[in-house]
């Protein structure tokens, strides 16, 4: 960014990094909760069944793909928006 000193740029980078870390942890937690709620339903045993383990794997795999695809749409949308007037903020 223009007009920031080296120290300010470092400060900004650290804040964004901290923000990304938090964001990643939040997505991780949401994924665990969602895949747990969707896949685990058998409480006759303490260990995950084969079916549950497989479901969790597919759940994670599908959410990675989904997240990737929606990120692309989101970026296209933002690129389009920044060419126009900012949307109602």
């Amino acid at each position: 960014m223009d007009g920031l000193t080296a120290a300010e740029t470092r400060d900004l980078e650290q804040r964004l990094q901290k923000h990304q870390m938090k964001q990643f942890l939040g997505l991780f937690s949401n994924l665990v909760d969602h895949c747990f709620m969707s896949c685990v339903d058998d409480f006759t045993s303490k260990a995950l069944s084969g079916r549950e383990t497989g479901c969790v794997s597919r759940c994670v795999q599908k959410h990675m793909a989904l997240s990737q695809r929606l990120s692309e749409r989101f970026q296209e949308h933002n690129a389009q928006m920044s060419g126009q007037a900012p949307p109602g903020r």
Partner: protein, 95 residues
């Protein structure tokens, strides 16, 4: 901060940093909400397959487009409403 105080033509560095940070937070928050909403709308939660199939992919694209439209629409409606009712009326926390 501006030494001669000429009407503050430029934001300070601290303000610029805060603005970038706030923008980043708004964007990630919207991205997360989009993902949550469209995953619910388009992907069944039985996870019989790990790949996105064609139908799901198309659904996600359309869902994203509609989500952005609803965002814009709600934003417009709130602006109209706040102009009609004036500040203090309507939506929001009545202190």
């Amino acid at each position: 901060m501006s030494f001669l105080g000429f009407g503050r033509p430029q934001p300070t560095s601290a303000e610029k940093i805060a603005a970038v940070e706030a923008e980043m937070k708004l964007l990630t928050e919207m991205h997360n909400r989009l993902t949550k909403a469209c995953a619910k709308k388009c992907v069944p939660s039985d996870y019989r397959e790990g790949d996105l199939n064609k139908g799901e992919s198309v659904c996600l694209d359309r869902c994203a487009a509609k989500f952005f439209d609803v965002h814009m629409k709600v934003s417009e409606l709130l602006q109209q409403e706040s102009q009609q009712r004036g500040p203090g009326g309507g939506f929001g926390f009545g202190g």
